[in-house]
Symmetry: C2
């Protein structure tokens, strides 16, 4: 039984957070530095972008997290600290500043950055911001942390759940930043999750690495895999449940709780994709394998042509078939059924790979909604999966035509 509760990274026991404006960004009204802190040292797990060009913070974090432990997460927005000559230095010094202010070890600090790639970066804003961050740490300021990591995001993204393990109430919550350079490949954005559940570092990593295959790896905003992606989970054990150290029922419960948070964050990320006006959920049924199901679902949510058609509320299902056809999935296109659905109902547009008569008026009504399901039945088995995406709009072009200025 998983219950949605209020809050984000400070919902779990023993976690506080904060977000401030420190000056990495010029806009003084935008928080640009966030800190998450666990009063007890926590077990930690993370996954990273597979892009060969990696932000310097990822290298530092990987090193710090090697021992499976961490106590704080520091993250700035406005500058990705990527392709900078002194990037590692800056990231290390940031951890030292955090550690000295919190009186913890520098190698228990996770560091992340997001923003423009290849811009010079100074340590000065961190020197100013970190003491302010630390002095304001609180449960209530968790929401400021979710704001401090935003780039072109228009809404903050936080969610939390509670669940029960062996009679102990556990909580798990997370924050995420989208909203461009988002494409399935390992982790594809910044997500920080905290929990008071007691779980070993090894099982925490296993839970995270398994979960992202069906959550963050199944979403795309624009096909560009970022250089700075990271999903990091801290588990401080303060719920006092019996520590999860194997794949038992408790682990399953934890996985379900984790998945409910990661899928919620996925939907928030694509719903707030750069310029997006619609959240697309592509559900593939009747596949003979999970590989084929995933190839089809991802290919459809990544198609620029389909995404533009969804923006225009145009039931151009031929573009769904086209994207299925080039997905590299091994499927029989003559068995494919396609339907669109939303709050306004469902409409079948293709049966056995060919068009069927349908009401364009009804289709328009369905597609004018903000959340659209694209339902694909491959009629070849029992495997199903879901991928998430968004529409392609004028505003995506506007936002990215001149992002740096």
């Amino acid at each position: 039984m998983i219950n949605i509760i209020s809050g984000g990274v400070t919902a779990a026991k023993g976690f506080t957070a904060n977000g401030v404006h420190c000056g990495v960004r010029k806009n003084r009204t935008k928080r640009d530095l966030s800190l998450i802190y666990s009063e007890k040292i926590a077990n930690a797990a993370a996954v990273y972008t597979t892009n060969l060009v990696k932000g310097a913070p990822l290298t530092v974090t990987k090193n710090h997290i090697k021992d499976g432990k961490a106590q704080a997460i520091i993250c700035n927005s406005g500058n990705a600290n990527t392709c900078n000559a002194n990037g590692i230095e800056i990231a290390e010094e940031t951890c030292q500043l955090v550690a000295s202010e919190l009186k913890i070890e520098p190698n228990d600090v996770v560091v992340a950055s997001t923003g423009v790639i290849g811009q010079p970066m100074s340590i000065e804003p961190f020197k100013k911001g970190i003491p302010e961050l630390v002095s304001g740490l609180s449960v209530d300021c968790g929401t400021f942390a979710s704001e401090g990591i935003m780039t072109t995001d228009t809404i903050k993204k936080e969610v939390a759940v509670s669940f029960n393990i062996g009679g102990k109430e556990c909580k798990l919550g997370g924050i995420a930043k989208g909203s461009g350079m988002i494409h399935p490949n390992m982790a594809t954005m910044l997500v920080f999750i905290t929990t008071d559940c007691a779980i070993s570092s090894k099982m925490l990593q296993k839970a995270l690495s398994t979960d992202i295959q069906n959550s963050f790896n199944m979403l795309s905003v624009d096909g560009d895999t970022s250089t700075n992606d990271m999903v990091c989970v801290l588990a401080n054990g303060m719920a006092e449940n019996k520590e999860i150290i194997e794949e038992n029922e408790d682990f399953k419960t934890f996985m379900t709780a984790l998945n409910s948070v990661t899928v919620s964050l996925c939907k928030m990320i694509v719903g707030d994709g750069e310029g997006a006006t619609k959240l697309l959920e592509c559900k593939v049924f009747g596949a003979d394998s999970i590989e084929n199901a995933k190839l089809v679902a991802k290919s459809v949510v990544c198609s620029s042509l389909l995404k533009a058609a969804m923006f225009g509320a145009d039931a151009n299902w031929g573009r769904v078939l086209c994207a299925i056809g080039y997905s590299k999935a091994d499927i029989d296109v003559n068995k494919v059924d396609v339907a669109f659905s939303s709050n306004k109902g469902e409409i079948v547009v293709c049966k056995n790979g060919a068009g069927v008569d349908f009401s364009e008026e009804k289709a328009k009504e369905i597609l004018l909604e903000k959340e659209i399901d694209i339902l694909i039945n491959l009629n070849s088995g029992n495997v199903e999966t879901t991928a998430w995406g968004c529409d392609l709009t004028y505003d995506y072009v506007k936002i990215n035509g001149d992002y740096r200025t």
Copy 2:
């Protein structure tokens, strides 16, 4: 020595063509049916889309071209004849109508369609249009054929060259249609090429299959591999050169002539990509293998983020690095140099994987031009390649937000 000459598919001896409005499209001012005819039966070669969802005409053409011979090419725009229950029937009947009017064999007719996928299609417009097409066949009407295959293209695309084989002047010319659903994978658009050069079917296929690896497979408009792509070459031998039947000097000359036409058509296609305002040419140098060079070049021209930056004339080179990083090429990102160039000069923006100081003003001046070169030196070998793309603009979204109506 390859000379650019005027004309397109009727530049070579013995070829005539025509294009008319037959009624597949409602807009009466738009030609929607094209015919290319060789007075002598020609050797024929073709390559097709790798999309599993294939237009019915491709199945029919593959069958007709099995014997390496063809004498006519018929192509309509406005309806892709894809995902239609009676698609094969329609395509076969179209060939029969052409054959009976031209007094040739139906299986010497190549048939192609382009337009919306999954729309019902009627044979009636073809019954009306084909006699009109045939009666108007001429060298001068070759340009009408280039118009009849256009979809969202805004300019017609034709080019021709002359070259010399064994003292005989040969000519080779082609027409192409772009301009959306264009992405490197086998052939990625409709292209018809004619030549009077004498070359065996086998060597013609070899020339075409080799050439597309460095021409059409290296371009992308929007990452969507079409269901109806086809490149077809007819060679009627009327230049009376000694027939090319092996990989000799004559074959090399023919390959050079073919490549000059295919690359010209590539540039026309991306320059007229849906909504495009800029032609992007990504030149990769210093690669250790052609595979790595191609992965890098294609990844860069396919990046939505970079394409939007180019639309905004924003020298956001971090997006070039990002696209190199996720290209799956095995390269050392710390050796990568990047520069932008155009008619207004060249500017280095990244050395050894890190930013260098550059004048934003000068970069803007360079990037405001219509043809932009993105120069990438991997500094790891001597292999080079080129890929072509276009910018991502408001008009791409506009065109594709409501393509069907």
